[in-house]
């Protein structure tokens, strides 16, 4: 279960070795845009050495690999498969490119004698990918999908605005596609690190339309994202109240029951169970 996914430049030892103090649910070690072309080899070797010296972490380990150069992609993938990496983030995904990538992954796993373990997180960052989102999320091993609004805006030939209206439809399509197959809908990062109030408003909006996690680019953003994407104490109390009422109704042999004068049906109970499950995983309740 993810709320926050923090990007860290893959060639920065100071950030890499402090990754466990940022409290993010997942760390995305970036080998793509955050690394200069001539330093790709150094970043890959640095991460491999780091994962080898520190074989476990209190967060999900994700690596964003390079896909625009096949030889670099193969070396990135090989590094991921020979280390503790939990998920591979695949940039510029389309239906065709993702299924081709899956074939390469499976072939490499087979040749290395590695059992299928890593999951995939494609980035939806082109107009074509938005249109293909529902097919992309049906690719085997996909555990979440990230909307990349900056590259998408470039592809659309439009500027990003403070209102975010230009990404309303892509956001909604990504949410619908992800939720249709019950995987994480991960929102695009908020880039203005100093604007905490705007980050909160942006996260609250994306949460309100169904995103359940948000990527971030600075450790200071993690706390706000956790506040927005975690259940509130009032929501937890209400869910606990519903489940107590459910237990009582079962003991009394009642099929239907009400709480605070409102009928409680199956979807409401499912939401309550899911909310408490998340609260437990994130340490909000014992």
């Amino acid at each position: 279960m993810r709320r926050s996914l923090l990007f860290i430049p893959g060639n920065n030892p100071g950030m890499v070795q402090n990754s466990d103090i940022f409290d993010a649910d997942a760390i995305i070690f970036d080998l793509e845009d955050a690394v200069l072309p001539q330093e790709k080899d150094a970043a890959r070797t640095l991460l491999h050495a780091y994962f080898k010296q520190f074989p476990s972490a209190p967060y999900e380990t994700i690596v964003r690999i390079n896909t625009n150069d096949s030889s670099i992609m193969m070396e990135d993938l090989s590094m991921c498969l020979s280390s503790r990496v939990d998920a591979i983030m695949v940039p510029k995904a389309t239906k065709q490119s993702l299924f081709e990538f899956l074939d390469i992954l499976v072939t490499m796993e087979h040749s290395l004698g590695i059992s299928p373990r890593v999951t995939l997180i494609p980035i939806i960052e082109t107009a074509r990918a938005v249109w293909e989102a529902y097919e992309i999320v049906q690719c085997p091993r996909v555990s979440g999908v990230l909307l990349g609004a900056e590259d998408l805006s470039t592809d659309l030939g439009i500027p990003r605005t403070a209102s975010n209206l230009e990404i309303l439809v892509p956001r909604s399509l990504v949410v619908l596609a992800a939720k249709a197959v019950k995987i994480d809908a991960i929102d695009t990062p908020f880039l203005d690190v100093d604007q905490e109030a705007n980050l909160r408003a942006d996260a609250e909006f994306s949460h309100s339309i169904g995103m359940n996690a948000k990527a971030c680019i600075h450790p200071l953003q993690v706390g706000i994202i956790h506040e927005v994407f975690s259940p509130t104490s009032a929501e937890i109390r209400q869910a606990q109240k519903l489940l107590l009422a459910e237990e009582k109704a079962k003991l009394e042999g009642k099929g239907a029951f009400s709480v605070d004068g409102k009928m409680v049906d199956k979807p409401i109970l499912e939401r309550a169970h899911h909310l408490l499950e998340k609260a437990k995983v994130w340490g909000l309740i014992p």
Binding site: N12, P13, G14, Q17, D41, A42, T45, L46, H48, A49, Y50, K52, Q53, F54
Partner: protein, 86 residues
């Protein structure tokens, strides 16, 4: 083998230069924590050279507080850039 470098002078990193030499190994260490960790840095580099059976090589490292994994990674990348097959 040719001369090659890897790394930065940023905190927690190191800058490594490798170059061929006629005979033997030379390891030159310059570190902000040399008095406490100089021997450990030396051991990490010697360990890599042993693993790869590399002789006739000179390595210079300017360390800014790098941990072992960073030193190892920077040396390995510099060697690869120098043409050493890893």
């Amino acid at each position: 083998m040719k001369m090659a470098t890897c790394g930065t002078y940023e905190s927690n990193d190191c800058f490594v230069t490798v170059m061929p030499q006629k005979t033997g190994r030379t390891i030159q260490i310059e570190s902000i924590v040399f008095s406490s960790f100089g021997a450990q840095i030396q051991a990490v580099i010697e360990g890599i050279l042993e693993e790869l059976h590399l002789d006739n090589i000179a390595i210079a490292i300017q360390d800014k507080g790098a941990l072992d994994y960073t030193i190892r990674a920077r040396v390995l990348t510099a060697l690869q850039r120098a043409g050493v097959s890893l």
